[in-house]
Amino acid sequence: MPGLEDLYREIILDHYRNPRNRGELPSPPAYRVEGFNPLCGDEIVVYLDVSEDGRVVDLRISGQGCSISQSSASMMSSAVKGKTVDEARSLIRAFKAMMSIHEQRLDADGQPEDAVIEEPGVKLGDLEALQGVVKFPVRIKCATLSWNTLQQGLDEADQAAPSPA
């Protein structure tokens, strides 16, 4: 049985107590995307400023949720801010790969069908503290909520942007 210390690492509690990039951005021009966790009622709003050259120049988080969803969002915001959209996307993939080991197990019987896609060269850094969440399957959706919401925001930005030459 996994213990609570796997879940509530110190760095997670720190981001929970002191969330980074909390707030809103005027929208438009920022993209504003909402995410729900239908199971627990957590709601997150991601505000996203993407520059013409495809860089996430600013990003803010509002909404409410548990320590896991809040700290995950906070860490995400730190990790993504300033990155290019492409870099942000590979970070999303890498993070979801870390989480999906178990998300798969919820859906299939022990044998993940899609092998975890490693994103070589992507450093998750502090985000690795969230790995312990994998042992608490119900909480995985808390951890991935902000990331799915970000992904949706990037998709919207891509669609709005003039198609790349």
Binding site: G41, Q64, G65, S67, Q70
Partner: protein, 411 residues
């Protein structure tokens, strides 16, 4: 008349309470989500499968006759338990949600026209909201809501205006979030005076109080077995027979027909008209055994025990945590069910529940399928401890002790 429950003995009837969690005894405080099952219920189902399972209402051989007899006997037991005048009005569904959908889709489509109004309340479970929201989309009906007032009670000051001209009033008999026991009879009387039909979601009520459909003043009453010591996979919709008789079928298939031709069909009589396909037979037998178990305890005693335990919980939590805890719903234990929703410090209920689990204490965290009510309370989620016949003061103490540990962890 009202005997005190012997909880120590009752606990022994529930095998799961013997199972430890992470080295602690199981302190199960989530019965409002789903109750645990006594041995007698499990045995009744196993015995059914091991000795006489067959499909019902069709076979002339002995075990099929016995299966049919047990199935219909369960219906009669439920009828008696809720004070229904006859088993004819007792329809087996898969859960209370299906029962409410049955009313919305069968009664609703036959009786509601665009612009017609249905009155609900702000404290409803999604099960009594979404079916009507779907009808709103399909038929363009109007939905009105009795608002939440002070102390978790419905605000009835505007009832006369709200009920005026509505075709149906649907309300819960006990809130699964606040424990509120709305004055169903008073609202039903107002509804009937306005010419409306009354649907009562009694999912939380039937397991915990003496139920009499006539006293409630209801035309339809829904319940769900898994919250009243019964199995999953079965619920009941009771309806006034005159209404059910006039309603068109809901789902089509075997069992619910009298005759089928390639160009049409004639529905069966009540209650089978609303039971399409093979029904939950073993589950009905289990529900019958659950009703027997509860009757054995006596529903007055069940209710008295819950008032006492809820009083103890409200007192203990307030004394031990003061301003750190906010308890939603009525303050007076006699005015509410054994459902205690609370906010603890500024901690998220998910985190509270997670830490409590570490100590074997099971409480629910989330919106409890009542998102509109959550918004109305101004919270995203709550933690909720809920009690049943197998809970005692030691369980409440375990909850309080584990809340202390939660405090420590997030300090």
């Amino acid at each position: 008349m009202t005997m005190q429950l012997d909880v120590e003995r009752i606990k022994k009837d529930f095998p799961i309470l013997d199972v430890g969690v992470r080295g602690h005894r199981l302190v199960y405080l989530d019965s409002a989500a789903s109750s645990q099952k006594p041995q007698a219920v499990l045995d009744a189902m196993t015995r059914y499968y091991e000795t006489t399972h067959a499909n019902v209402h069709r076979g002339v051989y002995a075990i099929a006759e016995e299966a049919t007899r047990l199935f219909e006997e369960a219906r009669a037991k439920v009828a008696a338990f809720i004070g229904a005048p006859s088993p004819r009005g007792v329809v087996f569904t898969k859960n209370v949600t299906e029962g409410i959908n049955l009313v919305a889709q069968s009664w609703g489509r036959a009786n509601l026209r665009p612009g017609d109004a249905v009155l609900l309340t702000e404290i409803e479970h999604h099960a009594n909201l979404v079916p009507w929201l779907m009808l709103k989309e399909w038929l363009g009906i109007e939905l009105r809501y009795i608002p939440l007032g002070e102390e978790g009670q419905l605000d009835l000051s505007d009832l006369d205006r709200l009920v005026d001209g509505v075709k149906l009033v649907g309300l819960t008999a006990m809130s699964n979030v606040l424990g509120t026991l709305p004055p169903v009879r008073r609202i039903a009387d107002a509804a009937h005076a306005a010419g409306a039909v009354v649907l009562v979601d009694a999912a939380q009520y039937v397991p915990h109080l003496v139920t009499d459909v006539a006293e409630l003043g209801a035309d339809f009453v829904g319940l769900t077995a898994h919250k009243m010591l019964g199995p999953t996979g079965i619920g009941v919709l009771w309806g006034r027979e005159s209404l059910l008789d006039e309603m068109p079928p809901f789902l089509g298939g075997g069992e619910m027909i009298r005759d089928v031709r390639l160009d049409g069909f004639t529905p069966n009589e009540l209650p089978w008209k609303f039971e399409a396909g093979t029904p939950p037979i073993a589950e009905a037998v289990g529900l019958g055994a659950a009703v027997d178990y509860l009757s054995g305890l006596g529903m007055e005693s069940v209710r008295a025990h819950e008032i006492e335990l809820t009083a103890y919980a409200l007192r203990t939590l307030t004394e031990r945590f003061g301003d750190d805890i906010v308890i939603h719903g009525p303050a007076e234990p006699g005015m509410r069910g054994g459902v205690v929703s609370f906010s603890f410090k500024d901690l998220h209920p998910h985190d509270v529940s997670q830490v409590l689990d570490e100590w074997g204490v099971c409480v629910r965290a989330g919106h409890h399928c009542a998102k509109p009510l959550m918004r109305r309370l101004g919270v995203g989620a709550t933690a909720r401890a809920s009690f049943y016949v197998y809970n005692d003061e030691a369980d409440v103490d375990a909850l309080a002790d584990a809340l202390d540990k939660t405090s420590d962890l997030f300090a």
